[in-house]
Amino acid sequence: MGKLIVVACGAGINTSTIAEDSIRERLKKEGITDVEVKRILMADIDGYIGRMNLIVSMMKIFRTFDVPIVQGMPFLIGSKDEKEVLLNKIIKLIKE
């Protein structure tokens, strides 16, 4: 089974869509086909425990999970370079 990246935000609408789109585009460019990206409501995150391999969060998370958490804010407000750095980090983490 492939890996799963969840992109979490409050409303699951605008901000997570931006992050989801950026990650999907990069995965495609890298030729990585076995990683799914799914945007979710932070309130629903417990339903993905055990299935998700990486969390990209647009907001602060006040608890820990057994998978890495990446702060996704640069997708929304970062410069081109900051967005690139964040994507590199996500690709590295999901390949591990």
Partner: protein, 168 residues
């Protein structure tokens, strides 16, 4: 298509707090039939639980919105403020941000607005562009500037007017 025109741009808007700004913006969208009457209150409630202040440079902005349920037609309203109001930071709800520009994207289906969202994220990452937007002298010039930056086409008639026309 995303509905956006100068009627949905508030310039030099004088408001005491974020609630007043969101209310004024959602009122504009409601007047055109783009969102439900409750959308403003839903957005304010959402903002309390999940804030949307963004620590952009050279000044902060906010990107409020509520669920898709209250949206009839995807549309964008913008407020450029005379004095900043406080929004909480999306990444850290304990932090107050002084916000000068508010963009309310009432989104019916996120996937359909992906191009606009991409363009917004590029815009938010460019301090000189945000300054340019803030210095627009009129609603019309701000609308034209944004339409160009976001590659939006000229908005058609509002839903309200279309409906009225259909009845005649």
């Amino acid at each position: 298509m995303l509905q956006f025109n100068e009627d949905l741009v508030l310039i030099d808007f004088d408001a005491a707090d974020s609630t007043t700004v969101i209310k004024a913006m959602s009122d504009r969208l409601y007047a055109r039939g783009f969102v439900s009457e409750l959308y403003g209150q839903q957005t304010i409630s959402r903002e309390e639980k999940h804030p949307t202040g963004l620590p952009t440079e050279p000044f902060c902005i906010a990107f409020p919105h509520a669920d898709a349920e209250g949206v009839n037609v995807s549309s964008l309203a913008v407020a450029i403020l005379r004095n900043p109001v406080v929004f909480k930071n999306m990444a850290d709800p304990d932090e107050d941000l002084l916000v000068y520009i508010v963009l309310l994207l009432a989104n019916k289906k996120p996937e359909e607005q992906i191009e606009t969202l991409r363009k917004l994220a590029i815009l938010f990452g460019q301090p000189e562009k945000l300054s340019e937007l803030r210095s627009q002298p009129t609603s019309a010039s701000a609308a034209t500037w944004l339409r160009l930056e976001l590659s939006l086409s000229e908005s058609s008639e509002s839903v309200g007017e279309v409906r009225k026309g259909g009845l005649l």
